[in-house]
């Protein structure tokens, strides 16, 4: 049986709880037998009853509680049941948690992780389907991560989470995607058609935040670069593969796991060669991740950048009806269509 992203995250939590007695999990409905609304914490409360704390429905207050715990030597992990509710967490994240270390002149650390599932495609409607992470990218002092559905070398969604909990002394917002949960982890064997290279930003000296660079094995040089994260990374991978085998359109795909602060390498290297970049995200299009990356590419590459395109959600709330949601959120076919256009 293949391990899913969900199981991998669960293993990461368990491993962190086991490794360090200062790790505590907090969240709504996280106790067994339920194990959290998406089951990521399943088994944790049975194995570590003292350190898995079921909470009232108090996202703002809870985020403050985790901040206090982290400031006084614990390593708390908070689950926010739906990413949409990060709006309630925003004051603590932006005006407290992300500021303390710097404004206190580096005299404190805040080792805490806030995990939350974003994303639609499940018909949950306008307030349970959003991808709001762009609101938190670019906040100084905050690291925003998104796992990819790979298990390569020692890197997996679970290891990304485990390392964030155990070894990152600055606050982390860990963005999961609901559609990722049931995806199987892709290993190098499964990815036998692909060359997968793991890269790390020089600032990431511990090599915690892999950047996955994918090409079709033995393919001619890529003519377009694609970058996407989270579930869109998987949609992009499928589009990449399909167009390569069916239409001989060859691309390179870069999937970062650290969204903010954003590291431009190795994306820049790839775009320097292809001259063209497609950026895919599930959040709304304006003033988002793609906009920032496009600006960085333009600033750095100058006229080596021939074309950049963004594919993102339409500027409306996420609708509940399956048909509406499908036309509102970026689909694999949309990626394929843009790739065709860009490579023409």
């Amino acid at each position: 049986m293949k391990t899913t992203v969900l199981e991998s995250l669960n293993q990461g939590l368990m491993a962190a709880l086991k490794a360090d007695a200062t790790v505590h999990l907090l969240g709504e409905d996280i106790l067994d037998p339920y194990g959290g609304a998406f089951k990521v914490t399943r088994g944790c409360s049975t194995a570590f009853p003292e350190r898995v704390i079921p909470t009232p429905i108090s996202e703002a207050g809870l985020t403050g509680v985790t901040a206090g715990m982290a400031l006084r030597g614990l390593r708390p992990v908070l689950e926010i049941m739906f990413g949409d509710f990060t709006t309630l967490v925003a004051d603590q994240l932006i005006n407290h948690i992300s500021k303390f270390r710097w404004m206190y002149n580096d005299s404190v650390t805040l080792p805490l992780v806030i995990r939350t599932p974003m994303g639609g495609r499940r018909g949950y409607g306008p307030t349970h389907s959003q991808s709001l992470e762009k609101l938190f990218m670019g906040v100084p002092g905050l690291t925003v991560l998104a796992p990819a559905n790979f298990s390569i070398d020692t890197h997996s969604p679970g290891s990304l989470l485990e390392n964030s909990i155990l070894y990152t002394d600055s606050p982390v917002l860990f963005i999961e995607n609901k559609m990722q949960y049931l995806q199987p982890l892709l290993t190098t064997e499964i990815l036998s058609d692909f060359d997968v290279e793991l890269r790390f930003d020089p600032s990431d000296s511990e090599e915690q935040f892999p950047i996955y660079c994918l090409r079709i094995k033995g393919a001619p040089p890529a003519t377009v670069t694609i970058s996407a994260y989270g579930f869109c990374g998987e949609l992009a991978r499928q589009a990449q593969s399909k167009l390569a085998f069916e239409e001989e359109i060859f691309s390179q795909l870069i999937i970062p796991t650290r969204l903010s602060p954003f590291a431009l390498q190795p994306l820049m290297e790839s775009v320097a060669r292809t001259g063209k970049c497609l950026l895919v995200e599930e959040g709304t299009r304006s003033l988002g991740w793609g906009a920032e990356v496009a600006a960085l590419l333009a600033e750095t590459l100058g006229d080596k950048l021939k074309q950049v395109k963004r594919l993102a959600a339409l500027e409306t709330p996420v609708p509940a009806a399956v048909s509406l949601e499908k036309s509102m959120l970026p689909q694999q076919e949309d990626i394929e269509a843009l790739l065709r256009k860009m490579s023409a």
């Binding site: 207050g61 809870l62 403050g64 708390p76 005006n95 404004m103």
Partner: protein, 299 residues
């Protein structure tokens, strides 16, 4: 020194520090903003002097008094307000964002209360026996997050003392324009025993806090202390909408320093006054000569 003399000296240090800040603000020595606690010194000294060495303090925008009562260095506070490298936080935080030993402040109303709960739970989990004190104002009772925090503090038996400094005004808004019902009952609704005092007598605040902190430490559970007090200065600087007569009347009745002074011998009062005057002057002058904060080499 007797305890009374010590408390008098500590309150006077806060008073003279803050009077100096307000005076020198006008001359451009300080920039940005500041909030003085002139009139409320008995709260800071009465409460903080009862804490054990490992106890933790969370405070708000009006935090100079708490910092000084905690034993914080006056020159470092002057320097922080002046934007000097030698400031408590190297000039990064300024008047309302400081961290020194186990004292932390932030300038967003209400947000420190859940953080205090988390800290109290961490201390309890570590079996350190330290407790946490958080200071909020009456106006901050309007922030929703504090009720989430009260609930969790009570639910999880956090060793926490919540101190409400009710100076009956929030910036310019009198409490009766902003607060419904009774403050004590807000705590009682969460099962947190609350004691309310209406005094500017530092010894009375000290004695009651001592008792409450003992309960917090022994019961491992939260308590609340509501201190009715009076703010004599502006909210920030020069922004007092109250008439001078009204403020003068408050000073006449409720000045914690005058109240204490009456109980001390005139000899000790004058020697303490001279000592504090010298301390403030020296701290101010050293801070003024300190190097200005820069970003160089500090990412």
């Amino acid at each position: 020194m007797t305890l009374e003399e010590e408390y008098f000296r500590d309150m006077l240090r806060i008073r003279r520090f803050e009077e100096t800040v307000l005076e020198e603000f006008k001359r451009g020595v300080f920039s940005g903003t500041t909030h003085t606690s002139i009139g409320q010194e008995a709260d800071a000294v009465g409460v903080i002097r009862q804490l054990l060495p490992d106890d933790v303090i969370l405070t708000n925008h009006r935090c100079h008094g708490h910092f000084l009562a905690y034993g914080g260095d006056m020159r470092a506070l002057f320097a922080e307000l002046m934007g000097r490298q030698t400031g408590i936080c190297g000039g990064r935080g300024g008047s309302q964002h400081i961290h020194y030993k186990n004292l932390y402040s932030n300038g967003v109303q209400g947000g420190i209360v859940p953080i205090a709960v988390g800290m109290a739970l961490a201390e309890k989990q570590k079996k350190s026996e330290a407790a946490v004190v958080v200071f909020i104002g009456d106006g901050t009772l309007g922030e929703g997050v504090i009720y989430e925090a009260f609930n969790m503090a009570s639910l999880w038996s956090a060793p926490l003392l919540i101190v409400v400094e009710n100076n009956h005004i929030a910036q310019t808004t009198p409490t009766e324009y902003a607060l419904a019902g009774d403050i004590r009952m807000r705590f009682q609704a969460f099962g947190i025993p609350a004691l309310e005092l209406d005094t500017s007598n530092v010894m009375e605040i000290a004695g009651n806090t001592f008792q409450l902190m003992r309960e917090v430490h022994e019961d491992y559970a939260p308590r609340a202390l509501i201190l009715n007090t009076q703010r004599f200065g502006p909210h920030s600087k020069g922004d007092d909408t109250r008439s001078e007569q009204v403020v003068a009347l408050l000073k006449e009745k409720r000045d914690p320093i005058t109240l204490m002074e009456k109980q001390l011998s005139s000899d000790s009062v004058s020697s303490i006054r001279a000592e504090v005057e010298q301390q403030v002057k020296t701290a101010f002058e050293i801070a003024l000569a300190d190097p200005v904060a820069t970003m160089e080499g500090r990412p």
